[in-house]
């Protein structure tokens, strides 16, 4: 479970995030929606202790993220390309991440079999470094790497952007399977309302750093969101 209390982040006087209270139960697929500058990435960065909160705290599985590093073994994330190591081939990258999570090469090779479809023959065995892959393929590699080692908390920022339609559909299926088959908490942000409502059990709308909506996804959710954002 992730528990957020009185969390805020200020940059030279401007409040970019301000969440009084938010609880994300274990195993939930949690969607974060909002326009540019709403604070989605800031929230994820705080969750991963990449920036320091101005006030408040995030406690994940009883661990306060900016006090202890013990959340790292069960948390994985893909925020942007700076999570990739450009001069490695995708295989080397997966092996490296695997090694950090206590998996050997054989484990990783077995793990990667299930993604053959998504990789579409363009990622593994190619003679390319990650820096030379297309944006979409980079994203695929990053997302798959975030799933290595069965993490309990998975953070994906804009996972659908830059992906081709086939992969978007496959990714959606994969994320749904992930939550039904495991107890992983998945946090996703997206600009695509259709995708989030399809994947997430719960959607939180941020606006200028504040939580303005907190919805359990139902048939009407997409409509509700579209009306909200069409203003």
């Amino acid at each position: 479970m992730i528990k957020v209390t009185e969390l805020s982040k200020k940059y030279s006087g401007n409040i970019v995030l301000n969440i009084d209270e938010l609880e994300i139960p274990k195993g939930q697929t949690f969607g974060l929606v909002g326009n540019n500058g709403a604070g989605k990435t800031t929230f994820f960065n705080l969750l991963l202790d990449l920036i320091n909160p101005t006030t408040g705290q995030i406690i994940t599985h009883e661990i306060q993220v900016n006090k202890s590093e013990d959340w790292k073994p069960f948390t994985a994330a893909f925020i942007d390309e700076s999570f990739l190591i450009g001069y490695l081939t995708p295989e080397e990258y997966f092996y490296f991440i695997g090694e950090l999570r206590g998996l050997n090469k054989a484990d990783i090779d077995t793990f990667l079999i299930q993604f053959e479809e998504i990789f579409n023959g363009e990622i593994l065995g190619g003679k390319k470094y990650l820096r030379d892959l297309s944006k979409g393929n980079q994203k695929k590699a990053g997302i798959v790497a975030a799933l290595i080692g069965n993490p309990e908390v998975i953070v994906l920022d804009e996972p659908f952007a830059n992906l081709d339609p086939t992969t978007q559909i496959r990714l959606k299926k994969m994320l749904k399977d992930l939550t039904t088959n495991s107890q992983a908490t998945v946090l996703i942000s997206s600009h695509d309302l259709g995708h989030v409502t399809e994947v997430c059990e719960r959607i939180v709308v941020l606006d200028k750093g504040n939580v303005v909506k907190d919805i359990q996804t139902s048939q009407e959710t997409l409509k509700e969101l579209e009306t909200y954002f069409s203003v």
């Binding site: 925020i79 999570f83 090694e99 190619g126 390319k128």
Partner: protein
């Protein structure tokens, strides 16, 4: 239109975060530029009196002309490594309503304004002026000066052609080095005397200004060649596209025996080998190794033992200093990943330390042949190695925790000061100078052995307390974690 282009250039220069961020760096660059200008100016002023004094019989102008072959060859080589045709930033212009030939002329014309083309003028003009004062024919001298500038421009454009051609092959700079050495050899062994040929040609042109049209025609030709070559490449899949390397997957299984730090060690080795900038720090090893040859055979330094300590620290520590001073900026591109992954900071830092330690030992072993110049030198190198491992490596790691400059790994290395901040300069000097002082004081009062012992003992103290020091350094890194992440996140 030209007005806009110039405006863009201006803004690009002054608005780059580069310029705004590090004034110290710009001062250094300006200093270097002034330095080179002065060197060339001194050359231009002094060459006439020097030649007159050394060879009173011959005509200085003719002598200069006969040496121009080497000048041009050197100029070409230097440009090949330092000057690039800036085509990347014209991408946004392609879809604007501009004629392609205008863009091309702009790109090529701008290259003529490069610093490399002004530098020779600092030598050419004073030499020419002196010639006029020495009662040379004024027309002859002016023609000579114009001719020299035309040659400079020819080399400018010739270089781009060579660069473009060599970029198509895998061997990059090898062909040029080969051709240049071949030309040099052919000339040196007097198979074809380019020096005389070129000298004579210049003499003829200077005597009959009408022949000046020939080099100008050559200039027009190389310009036109560049123009057509660029024209075919002015597409986003042409030269505007960054080149992709063919990747090879290696597992470096032998690093396993280093235990916990193995994954990081592998990462560092790949970092060094697969990226332009760090790769050059491997090549610098060769320079560092040969550095001793400047000092040891020279009788001038024979009795100045403390100087040898400097060389020893430099030879055994060159990789360490080159690599170490940019820790952790080498990993700045994916620092967020490292910070959110299941990584112990200490292991990460220990991997860097091991790499520096191994490099110091290897450099010492490679420098053993210097024993030819005396056992003292080998002893000094050994002491310097121990000192480097025990003290300098830790200082470098500690300095890294103050590092706030990002490095873009794909950028080329020569004259690239990206990632260099005041910290690097502040660290660099003590690394080299303090050991000299530490050696010198006991050496002066107690003797050679005492100086060596001081360095070795200090080094051993550093090695003994390695764990303690690393704990302290790790804390420093943890304290500046957020600052580093946000600094590395800013694009330059």
């Amino acid at each position: 239109m030209i007005k806009h282009f110039i405006n863009f250039e201006w803004k690009q220069f002054f608005r780059s975060s580069y310029w705004q961020k590090s004034i110290a760096l710009n001062i250094l660059m300006a200093f270097l530029a002034v330095y080179f200008m002065l060197v060339f100016l001194a050359l231009g002023i002094s060459i006439y009196p020097l030649l007159k004094k050394q060879f009173p019989e011959s005509d200085p102008l003719l002598m200069v002309n006969s040496f121009l072959f080497y000048w041009f060859l050197g100029d070409l080589l230097m440009r090949f490594f330092l000057q690039k045709l800036p085509v990347m930033n014209i991408k946004p212009l392609l879809i604007l309503p501009l004629k392609r030939n205008k863009i091309l002329n702009y790109v090529l014309g701008r290259s003529a304004l490069s610093f490399f083309n002004f530098l020779p003028l600092f030598a050419i003009i004073p030499f020419g002026v002196i010639l006029i004062f020495e009662d040379y024919n004024t027309t002859t001298t002016i023609v000579w000066m114009v001719l020299m500038y035309v040659f400079t421009l020819i080399i400018n454009f010739l270089n781009f052609i060579i660069e473009a051609k060599s970029a198509e092959t895998e061997l990059s700079f090898l062909p040029l080095i080969l051709i240049a050495s071949l030309l040099f050899a052919v000339n040196y062994f007097e198979l074809i005397e380019f020096t005389t040929l070129l000298g004579n040609a210049i003499n003829v042109i200077v005597e009959n200004p009408i022949y000046l049209s020939i080099p100008i025609a050559i200039l027009a030709l190389v310009y036109y060649f560049n123009y057509t070559m660029l024209k075919t490449k002015l597409y986003v899949d042409g030269s505007l596209k960054a080149k992709a390397d063919v990747a090879t997957t290696t597992d470096l299984a032998w690093t396993r025996r280093f235990g916990d730090i193995a994954p990081f060690l592998q990462l560092d080795l790949k970092l060094l080998w697969r990226n332009k900038r760090p790769r050059s720090s491997i090549f610098i090893l060769v320079i560092g190794l040969l550095y001793g040859l400047f000092f040891y055979p020279n009788p001038m330094y024979k009795d100045w033992i403390p100087m040898f300590v400097f060389v020893g620290i430099f030879v055994t520590g060159i990789f360490m200093i080159n690599f170490g001073q940019f820790i952790p900026a080498w990993d700045s591109g994916y620092y967020k990943l490292l910070m959110s992954q299941n990584i112990k900071y200490k292991e990460y830092l220990n991997s860097k330390f091991s790499l520096m330690l191994i490099s110091a030992i290897i450099m010492f072993v490679l420098s053993i042949p210097y024993v030819y110049f005396g056992w003292k030198i080998l002893t000094i190198h050994f002491a310097a190695m121990i000192y480097n491992i025990g003290i300098n490596s830790h200082v470098l790691l500690l300095g890294g925790s103050f590092n706030r400059k990002k490095i873009d790994l794909t950028q080329r290395a020569a004259f690239n000061y990206q990632g260099t901040g005041a910290v690097q300069w502040l660290i660099g000097f003590p690394l080299l100078l303090i050991p000299i002082l530490l050696f010198y004081v006991p050496y002066k009062f107690l003797g050679f052995e005492a100086g060596i012992a001081t360095l070795i003992i200090l080094g051993i103290i550093g090695i003994v307390f390695h764990q303690k020091i690393m704990n302290f350094i790790t804390k420093k890194y943890l304290n500046s974690k957020y600052k580093m992440i946000s600094a590395f996140d800013q694009s330059n």
